[in-house]
């Protein structure tokens, strides 16, 4: 009894496609709440159309957004999961199959020559993040493809360890202000705080992936999330940068300890559409889509 490479590839394909078609429920609920609270008529029209568009995508089993982005996966290996085959190859094959069958626009290109592989995969793409869960008896895969608009506006800054928190808050607010209309607001913002250069971007990615209705368990971080959300919504960027109260759906923060002399901060700007779809694969070959 094991999880075969074929089962992993099929799950990766299904997850990739579903993540481009289905709007996560928590995002939909937040859009709906913010539409009700929005005072600009133009902003409300846009928020209603965003939800209507997601309904059509679901019904037609077609993409929500044309920017199908670069494929990315978060893979959690359970300590008791028995894997038969090459997970990385399976995920590459699943992505290529999904790109062809959905279809998605293949965006994976060489960074210098711009040569397009034509199937959405290539060296280092899909991007894969790994975790281990010692007690789990399953392999958990989350498809989390990422579009270009938000990443273009994302930023990382290395502060010294003596930098006051006010400077960090200013950097986050200024990054959002600078992004303005470009990343398809209302945005979803993930902040990475601490670690070192090599890990702070991963913290920000993890933060942006957290469902909007889950606050950070640490009250101090929770308070900071709420404070920053208040600031960025006060900027008045509004949906698509055309003005309004709805600039940001959530600010999520993840932190880790850092050095005494340094404070890395990463601000991952997401558009209103964070793609995420998860499944658990069990040793008996069954796949449970969450």
């Amino acid at each position: 009894m094991s999880i075969s490479e074929k089962v992993i590839a099929e799950a990766a394909k299904q997850l990739y496609c579903a993540s481009l078609v289905e709007l996560p429920g928590d995002i939909r609920r937040r859009l709906c709440e913010m539409e009700a609270a929005e005072t600009s008529e133009l902003a409300r029209l846009q928020l209603r159309k965003i939800m209507e568009n997601a309904d059509i995508a679901q019904r037609e089993q077609n993409v929500i957004c044309q920017d199908t982005g670069i494929a990315s996966y978060h893979i959690v290996i359970g300590g008791h999961a028995k894997i038969d085959g090459d997970i990385v190859r399976a995920v590459h094959n699943g992505t290529a199959a999904g790109t062809r069958e959905l279809p998605a626009i293949p965006h994976s290109v060489h960074p210098i020559t711009k040569a397009n592989s034509g199937n959405g995969t290539g060296p280092g793409t899909p991007i894969i993040h790994w975790d281990v869960l010692p007690d789990a008896e399953y392999l958990e895969i989350t498809a989390q493809p990422v579009g270009g608009g938000g990443d273009l506006c994302s930023a990382v800054k290395m502060f010294t360890g003596s930098a006051p928190m006010q400077e960090v808050k200013k950097f986050i607010v200024d990054t959002v202000a600078e992004a303005g209309s470009k990343p398809c607001p209302p945005m979803i913002i993930g902040v990475g705080l601490g670690g070192m250069f090599e890990s702070v971007n991963q913290l920000a990615k993890r933060a942006v992936m957290r469902p909007l209705d889950q606050r950070h368990p640490d009250p101090m971080i929770q308070e900071l999330e709420e404070e920053l959300l208040g600031y960025v919504n006060a900027l008045g960027i509004g949906p698509m940068g055309l003005g309004g109260n709805t600039t940001c759906l959530a600010v999520n923060i993840e932190y880790s300890n850092t050095g005494t002399y340094i404070l890395p901060v990463a601000v991952k700007i997401g558009c209103w559409l964070i793609h995420r779809k998860t499944a658990r694969l069990f040793n008996d070959g069954t796949v449970q889509y969450l």
Binding site: E52, E60, D67, Q166, D174, L235, M240, G241, C271
Partner: protein, 198 residues
């Protein structure tokens, strides 16, 4: 919010009647044209070479299209606007060279582009970003494509029926909703800095 249903091609007089904040629905042929296609069209024009589209009163779309089928019968699986800021460096010259009447995109364009729009008589129409299906369902026919070698940045002639809602984000009178919001952001940003204590 004034709602207008317009048929392409638009002439200068029609464009000058549109105002920032109006809601527009478009019917007719639009060209998918991104940065690389702008560069090529401008270099052809400079060399006196013909381009595969009308040389005036055109409507262009900063978008990506997922096409299936072959050139005899192209089908649009989905499409939608891309961030217009990337086209800023080429747009003012392009608007003047090809008498562009409407640019569809998302996120708005810079002040240089706004000046060219004002001078020639052109509007910027904002698609609601990320709403691929709202645009795709308005595609009546894919008329053809050109400059295939530009891969995803290929030129595409697309006929729409009631493409919208599009928001007039920048008008030919020189009003830009984006610029208004930008000024507001700067003001708010200063107030927030003060509140943070920096």
């Amino acid at each position: 919010m004034t709602e207008r249903h317009l048929t392409l091609p638009l002439d200068e007089a029609a464009v000058r009647q549109l105002h920032a904040g109006d809601i527009v629905y478009l019917t007719g042929e639009v060209l998918q044209l991104l940065g690389p296609a702008h560069q090529r069209a401008l270099s052809y024009k400079a060399q006196g070479k013909a381009v595969p589209f009308a040389e005036e009163n055109i409507a262009i779309y900063h978008c990506y299209t997922c096409l299936t089928g072959d050139d005899s019968q192209l089908h649009c699986r989905f499409m939608g606007a891309s961030t217009s800021a990337g086209v800023n460096p080429y747009e003012p010259e392009f608007i003047r060279a090809f008498k562009v009447r409407a640019i569809i995109g998302k996120g708005g364009m810079d002040q240089e582009t706004l000046r060219a729009m004002q001078e020639v008589g052109c509007v910027y129409l904002a698609q609601i970003g990320g709403c691929s299906q709202l645009c795709t369902k308005s595609v009546q026919k894919v008329e053809g494509r050109f400059w295939d070698d530009l891969a995803a940045n290929v030129g595409v002639r697309i006929r729409f029926q009631e493409l919208g809602p599009l928001i007039v984000g920048m008008d030919a009178g020189g009003t830009s909703l984006y610029e208004g919001v930008r000024q507001q952001i700067l003001k708010q940003q200063a107030a927030i800095h003060k509140e943070i204590g920096v």
